[in-house]
């Protein structure tokens, strides 16, 4: 086992991105993710990569568009309002089928909101986020270890499907310190294969064009239908989740990211009290782990969705369970973070009521 190092979540991302063979970062300061560009400005340069502090999030996402269209692994990080500004670019990038990584350390919204941890960007992340028919692969880490490992996974998925990928974390995960094990061999960027679509000069080949538009009659419809097939494949093959104590559960708590950590503590407390409670933690938010939930809903009567928002993922839970189960909700919006005992109370209320 490799040595473990105590790291901030935001620093774990930086190391994970570099270990994933990415050598291009462009971004703009915003709390609570500033440790990422700060650390990148040193680490990226140390590793011979590119670090640019841009004039805006708009410029940052478009620099990514350029660097990634040139065939390089490229990433940016921001927090909620900054991600909103990037949506135009993300839409173009999705429309041009270019893989990039965008990290969102979510904070309270809407508007300027606050800088406390929140999960209120779920819709924005899982419904495309910008204009047009598209989806972004969305991963939800819940530990510093995940923050180290997910950039590699995100780049692999993004490149496999030629699609933007998001990592959706929050201020708590970013600001928290935990032990990180450098669990994989760092990737040498030179070892990554050249992409057959990359813009790098047309020497010895036909020229290439990267674009998101097509004005020929009916052509965009064709392109979008083809992209829809890609999304169907991703939905079928890439659902990821973790479950705890679900086999005999009377109630399953569903939570991702920070909420899933707190819910996990609540579930353990409930088990100590003899309550048959499990936890389902979606790791991919898009594609949502619909299949396991559909299956569970055939035997489990009650689900409790816990989110740091007024309720967004709950829609996907309802869709997946197709009204077969009772869906309960506990939400803390605006930067509120639940504590295990309040989730336990909710669990007890549901199970008490169910009996």
């Amino acid at each position: 086992m490799a040595e473990k190092k105590l790291m901030y979540g935001n620093h774990a991302i930086v190391e994970g991105v570099i270990a994933a063979g990415c050598r291009f970062f462009a971004g703009y300061p915003i709390t609570p993710q500033n440790e990422i560009p700060e650390s990148m400005s040193v680490r990226m340069v140390d590793e011979g990569g590119v670090f640019i502090q841009t004039e805006s999030e708009i410029a940052a996402i478009n620099m990514l568009f350029g660097a990634a269209a040139a065939g390089k692994r490229a990433m940016t990080s921001s927090s909620s309002p900054g991600i909103s500004l990037m949506q135009e670019g993300i839409s173009y990038i999705a429309g041009a089928d270019i893989p990039v990584l965008v990290v969102n350390i979510v904070r309270g919204g809407p508007g300027l909101g606050n800088i406390a941890p929140a999960q209120s960007d779920y819709y924005q992340s899982t419904r495309g986020g910008g204009h047009g028919d598209y989806f972004t692969i969305t991963l939800a880490p819940n530990s510093a270890q995940d923050l180290y490992e997910f950039p590699k996974l995100a780049f692999e998925l993004a490149e496999k499907y030629r699609n933007p990928a998001l990592i959706l974390a929050d201020g708590l995960l970013g600001q928290m310190m935990e032990a990180v094990e450098f669990s994989f061999e760092p990737i040498d960027p030179k070892s990554l294969p050249e992409k057959e679509w990359a813009l790098c000069g047309c020497k010895g080949r036909e020229r290439r064009v990267v674009r998101s538009y097509d004005l020929k009659q009916g052509r965009l419809e064709e392109l979008n239908l083809r992209r829809a097939e890609k999304y169907t494949t991703i939905r079928k093959d890439e659902q990821r989740f973790k479950d705890e104590y679900c086999d005999d559960a009377d109630l399953v708590v569903i939570a991702y990211g920070t909420s899933s950590r707190i819910a996990s503590a609540a579930v353990r407390m409930a088990r100590q009290k003899g309550l048959k409670v499990g936890l389902l933690r979606p790791i991919t938010l898009w594609p949502f782990p619909t299949d396991v939930l559909a299956d569970m809903s055939k035997r489990i009567e009650n689900f409790l969705v816990v989110e740091m928002s007024c309720g967004q993922m709950i829609d996907d839970v309802k869709l997946a369970t197709e009204c077969r189960s009772n869906i309960h909700f506990h939400g803390r919006p605006g930067g509120g973070v639940p504590i295990p005992s309040e989730i336990l109370e909710k669990i007890e209320a549901v199970l008490g009521g169910a009996r």
């Binding site: 841009t54 350029g66 674009r211």
Partner: protein, 249 residues
């Protein structure tokens, strides 16, 4: 008999969809020639803007990318920094560069990004139907300034070369025009310098080209070229606004 002037290999065979007398075609032809003359076609990535020249990605015979409106300089910077061996040019109109993309062009210039910007100033939004642009002259009519641009309500035009010349960053800035043979030749010389500077790793170069938009201006092509000489270039004086190779001496 030898062919001495003809469509350069730096352009594709696709016929251009611009209106009759549009200046875009002249500038396209010049860039297409330079891709061959400087032997850079096979290592160049071009940026097509949003606007009439959105179709530029079909016309330049090199790798091309089409970014969001105004973001050409940022996309260019991304490509150039990711692949410094590539020659990158951002082709942009005035709505794209001087309106929605003002921040991107100023900061690319301030950072002295080693890119070449071809800036077409025709004083109007062409593709969307002749609306007022940031470069529309005082008193000039457009579909959103139908009684003529009233500077008290609609403000003054942006002089991009003058504005960028106030920054320390840019390496080379020149304003040209394509209204006369002489000016077309000068435009080519300026653009050649701008690409050569990139090859020599000198940094940010922008060539502004006053260019005819007969349709948007409600003029014939011949009237339009005369209007550049008589009116437009009086407001936007031609010339070199920054040449750091001279400053260094």
């Amino acid at each position: 008999m030898k062919k001495i002037f003809s469509r350069p290999e730096g352009l594709t065979d696709t016929l251009m969809r611009y209106c009759p007398g549009c200046g875009h075609g002249i500038v396209h032809r010049i860039v297409g020639e330079l891709l061959i003359e400087l032997d850079i076609r096979e290592r160049t990535v071009g940026i097509a803007p949003v606007g009439c020249s959105v179709f530029a990605d079909e016309y330049f015979n090199c790798d091309m990318i089409q970014p969001p409106h105004g973001r050409g300089p940022a996309v260019s910077a991304g490509i150039k920094r990711a692949r410094p061996e590539c020659i990158v040019f951002s082709y942009q109109g005035d709505g794209d560069l001087a309106s929605i993309g003002t921040a991107e062009i100023i900061h690319a210039a301030a950072r002295n990004e080693n890119i070449t910007v071809v800036f077409i100033n025709n004083a109007i939004f062409g593709m969307t139907g002749g609306q007022m642009a940031p470069t529309t002259l005082p008193g000039m009519k457009s579909t959103t300034s139908q009684k003529g641009r009233d500077v008290r309500k609609q403000g003054y035009p942006m002089k991009v070369c003058e504005m960028l010349a106030s920054l320390d960053g840019p390496y080379y800035l020149e304003r040209c025009a394509v209204d006369t043979v002489k000016n077309v030749i000068k435009t080519k010389k300026a653009l050649k310098m701008a690409f050569q500077n990139q090859l020599d790793d000198k940094g940010f170069c922008l060539i502004e080209v006053l260019s005819m938009c007969p349709t948007g201006w409600g003029q014939t092509p011949v009237q339009a070229k005369k209007w550049i000489g008589e009116v437009m270039s009086a407001y936007y004086p031609l010339g070199v606004y920054r040449d750091r190779s001279k400053e260094a001496k």
